[in-house]
């Protein structure tokens, strides 16, 4: 069975600080995908990134960056120079054959 652990339930930082959201996963599959989604207060789920298990290259997209380390089964997400609009619940998820399994989410609050 697959499992995703987001140990940080809530994080609160001041605007412009950098913040890292942790994600640790468990799987027996050799091929899998890792995802990050953002859920703002409005409730919709916004796709941020998908990473193939064979691609351990880190990725940067603007202020967002992701660090995938297979050795530690982690897929951490960093927001640089955080903004109030980044306030949301962030979910990490893993997908094997078809099913997407979510972590419990991290509620991120960016204070002005």
């Amino acid at each position: 069975a697959q499992k995703v652990t987001q140990a940080q339930t809530e994080i609160s930082v001041v605007e412009k600080e950098d913040v890292t959201l942790d994600c640790v996963y468990e799987t027996r599959d050799t091929t899998y995908y890792l995802f990050w989604y953002k859920q703002p207060p409005s409730g919709e789920l916004v796709f941020l990134i998908r990473r193939n298990s064979f691609d351990e290259q880190n990725e940067i997209s603007g202020r967002y960056s992701w660090n995938f380390q297979k050795s530690t089964s982690s897929f951490n997400f960093t927001i640089t120079a955080s903004q109030v609009v980044d306030s949301a619940v962030y979910f990490c998820a893993i997908q094997g054959a078809q099913k997407l399994v979510f972590g419990q989410g991290t509620r991120l609050t960016i204070n002005p």
């Binding site: 989604y37 789920l45 078809q98 997407l100």
Partner: protein
């Protein structure tokens, strides 16, 4: 990416009644899924909606409580039957295309009184 719409966006229903939620996609998709997100919780997969056959339900979810239809490759419905307050949740439709990226609809926020 696929554009997904859901109807209704929210509803308040009485205990014992049923609500059918619609999910419409702007293009044909391979897989359609239904998720539930209880207040303050993560997302849990209810079932995979199969075109032309019965849905595949996850452990803890049954067809009598959550009947699902998928008449074609762009549309699916989820019915929440004989509702109780514990069914108050956000219900989300999601789809995958050939690229395996999974996109979500805006959700249906259900409150059962």
């Amino acid at each position: 990416s696929a554009v997904i719409s859901q109807k209704p966006s929210r509803d308040i229903c009485q205990r014992g009644t049923s609500l059918t939620i619609q999910c419409q996609v702007d293009s044909q998709v391979t897989m359609m899924f239904w998720y539930r997100q209880q207040p303050g919780q993560s997302l849990t997969l209810i079932a995979t909606a199969n075109q032309g056959s019965e849905a595949t339900y996850e452990s803890g979810f049954v067809i009598d409580k959550f009947p699902i239809s998928r008449p074609n490759l762009t549309f699916s419905t989820l019915t929440v039957s004989n509702m109780s307050p514990e069914d108050s949740s956000i219900y989300l439709c999601s789809v995958t295309s050939g690229s395996s990226e999974q996109y979500f609809g805006p959700g249906t926020r259900l409150t059962v009184t």
